[in-house]
């Protein structure tokens, strides 16, 4: 028999028994949809996890912190982050860029606006280039300018609040009227001194013009070289920070603090700063995600703490794998029930059609054709069920996401990639055919005598 004849014969057989076919298909629809939706939940979870990781610092980044201070044998200062260490790390295989990171909290002022908690990160220009900022305007800090320049994260602006009693962006939804690029922003590096002035002079309260006995810290005008792309609510790992060239920052800080300890720097037991400047952390970028673990291990062996997203990612992935397996398993139970109902339907259909099958055999229908006919019928049930099931899955997935988003999270909880849809349909067809295999064998083996026996 020709394939098309088999095709039309089996589909018309299903069409003849519409109600039963629909009921059986319904089982497959539910089975497919439950598997696909369940797996989509697992996928959505791991997908949103990966997105979160991207936001929290790419997967190839390692951050090095000073060695554990609770180890008894070693002196604390031994494991502090120095230029030598940066050099050492830079020479480890697969390390692309190693940059010291010096961070300090400063206060920014523009007119009546104030941002009392600007986190300034000093890094090498090389590393800044590597971090791949997306800029709305301007450039990243340049190497050869010779004066300190700030690159503002896109969320920094939202943290400026009016000291004239106005409320912040988070309450009003209105951004401060500051053009970070062109307005001159004044920076107070010695935040402690600033606060001292503020609180010692309770009556005057605001402003730097209050004539208090304590000398207010000096304000510096710092040029803006660029602003990152994104609105005040587009969070990423950089969006809260201000970046600048580390060398210029250290020069500036040494100038500002002179003999005083720079905030965040370790001090001797007598409270004096060390001669050398120690870094808060070291930013390490590895050439490939596969090498992150190796590099990280090497750094740890040097006696420092190294953090990357890898371990977390791996354990999370394992965890989501389990969740996916469990959810998929739950879905699979309903698919199993659907498969049993396909088998049942096919058996019923074969009993009903004993005579028809017999006639076909007497008239010379090939045994393999008869088997194919029934396998195709079962496969059809699977196919229709699979297609409808996957469509239904997309609907359910959409509803889940809408509901979840209404509840306030922005994540896509249910995620059905194209391959999952395709596998869902193929799987449904295979299940259908597997369920139809035994009945089809039975049909093939039916005796043709049954047909000509006269009832």
């Amino acid at each position: 028999m020709r394939f098309f004849d088999l095709w039309s014969m089996s589909s018309s057989n299903l069409w003849k028994r519409k109600v039963r076919t629909i009921l059986t298909v319904l089982g497959v629809v539910i089975g497919t949809a439950s598997i696909v939706v369940m797996i989509s939940l697992g996928l959505g979870l791991s997908e949103s996890m990966m997105k979160e990781i991207e936001e929290n610092g790419g997967l190839t980044t390692i951050t090095v912190y000073p060695g554990e201070s609770n180890s008894f044998e070693e002196d604390n200062t031994d494991k502090l982050l120095t230029d030598e260490l940066v050099e050492t790390i830079q020479n480890i295989d697969h390390v692309d860029v190693a940059s010291p990171v010096l961070n300090i909290n400063v206060i920014g002022k523009y007119g009546s606006y104030e941002n009392s908690y600007i986190n300034v990160m000093g890094m090498t220009v090389e590393a800044l280039e590597k971090m791949g900022f997306e800029l709305k305007e301007g450039t990243i800090p340049q190497r050869d300018v010779g004066r300190l320049q700030f690159l503002y994260g896109n969320q920094v602006l939202a943290e400026f609040y009016s000291s004239k009693g106005g409320s912040s962006y988070w309450e009003t939804g209105e951004l401060p009227d500051i053009d970070l690029m062109n307005d001159s922003i004044f920076i107070i590096f010695d935040a402690d001194a600033y606060w001292n002035v503020q609180y010692n002079d309770g009556s005057a309260g605001y402003g730097d013009d209050s004539g208090t006995p304590v000398t207010p810290p000096k304000k510096y005008l710092v040029e803006t070289c660029g602003v990152m792309a994104g609105g005040p609510e587009d969070y990423n790992q950089y969006s809260w920070n201000v970046y600048c060239d580390i060398d210029l920052l250290t020069t500036q800080l040494k100038k500002v603090f002179k003999n005083k300890a720079i905030p965040g720097q370790p001090t001797t037991s007598s409270g004096k700063p060390y001669k050398e400047l120690y870094y808060n952390s070291i930013y390490v970028n590895v050439d490939n995600i596969d090498n992150v673990t190796t590099v990280q291990k090497e750094i740890v062996e040097l006696g420092y703490q190294a953090e990357s997203n890898m371990e977390w990612v791996e354990s999370q992935q394992r965890q989501y794998g389990y969740i996916q397996a469990v959810l998929g398993g739950i879905g699979a139970v309903s698919m199993l029930v659907a498969a049993i109902s396909i088998t049942n339907t096919m058996m019923m259909s074969i009993y009903e059609r004993t005579k028809e099958i017999g006639i076909m055999k007497v008239l010379g229908c090939d045994l393999r054709n008869i088997q194919t006919l029934f396998l195709m019928e079962a496969g059809f049930i699977g196919l229709i069920g699979g297609v409808v099931g996957v469509t239904l899955s997309y609907c359910i997935s959409g509803v889940i996401n809408i509901v979840v988003n209404k509840m306030g999270t922005e994540m896509q909880l249910s995620y059905i990639p194209f391959w999952l849809a395709a596998i869902g349909i193929i799987f449904a067809v295979l299940v259908g055919m597997a369920a139809g295999f035994f009945p089809s064998l039975r049909a093939m083996r039916l005796s043709p005598l049954a047909a000509i026996r006269n009832e």
């Binding site: 028999m1 020709r2 004849d5 018309s12 057989n13 003849k16 005579k355 028809e356 006639i359 076909m360 055999k361 007497v362 008239l363 010379g364 229908c365 090939d366 045994l367 054709n369 043709p448 005598l449 047909a451 000509i452 006269n454 009832e455």
Partner: protein, 241 residues
């Protein structure tokens, strides 16, 4: 006689069929020998339980003989497996059933074309051929009718057309008029007889009715699994002419 010189289409040698019913053996066929020649219309007549249906089933390859040989169109039926038998039936045999056995979901044309479908013929060709054969059995007006829209006689004519359509070497008919009233029976028998003549087909019919058997060229009387008499009606007919 001219016909007798032609090759035997069916050659049955020493055929036995023994059923086991509990501890006892039932000899449905007990040593049968005969030949049927091309273009003949033969009837196998016997009472129920005589073994006539068993014989027909074995000729058509629906049952396996216990012992003996069946040679149809030069091929041994008893050595074929089920797949080969199906293939053989598809290519060489037409079958007319007592209860018509048309597929209720197909119209007359499609029912007639069904055996051609099994041969893998394309739709246009097979429908054209079925159409022609339906003309032969005088069913021009009922081609698009489903079996339940036709009378018994019309249905059996569709059945006859279905057997003829593959242009088989042999047509087997199992009580073809068993479900028809006597007038319709005559009609169908005459039709079959005429077609066998015109198409030069070989027809083997099983019946319990001596009157119907008299339409045949030769009549095999079977009783208790043995052929007791072979009657040739052609000589009588000739004498009558």
């Amino acid at each position: 006689m001219a016909e007798k010189k032609e090759e035997a289409v069916i050659r049955v040698k020493d055929l036995y069929k023994i059923y086991r019913v509990g501890d006892s053996k039932v000899r449905a066929l007990n040593g049968v020998d005969f030949s049927i020649y091309k273009g003949e219309f033969c009837a196998i007549v016997g009472t129920s339980g005589s073994g006539k249906s068993t014989l027909l089933n074995m000729l058509a390859g629906l049952e396996k003989p216990t012992k003996g040989e069946i040679i149809i169109a030069g091929e041994h039926m008893e050595t074929k497996n089920e797949n080969q038998l199906v293939k053989f039936r598809r290519e060489h045999i037409g079958f007319i059933f007592q209860s018509f056995n048309l597929l209720g979901t197909m119209n007359a044309l499609e029912n007639v074309a069904l055996p051609l479908t099994f041969q893998g013929m394309d739709k246009a060709t097979r429908l054209a051929r079925a159409d022609k054969v339906l003309d032969l059995v005088n069913l021009k007006k009922h081609k698009k009718h489903k079996p339940n829209q036709m009378s018994g006689g019309q249905q059996q004519r569709v059945g006859v057309a279905r057997a003829l359509v593959v242009n088989p070497e042999i047509i087997f008919a199992d009580e073809p008029t068993g479900n028809l009233d006597s007038n319709t029976s005559e009609e169908v028998m005459n039709l079959m007889k005429r077609l066998v003549r015109e198409q030069k087909q070989t027809l083997v019919m099983v019946t319990h009715d001596n009157h119907l058997a008299s339409f045949a060229d030769r009549i095999f009387h079977i009783k208790d699994g043995k052929i007791i008499k072979i009657e040739d009606t052609r000589e009588e007919n000739k004498e009558q002419e």
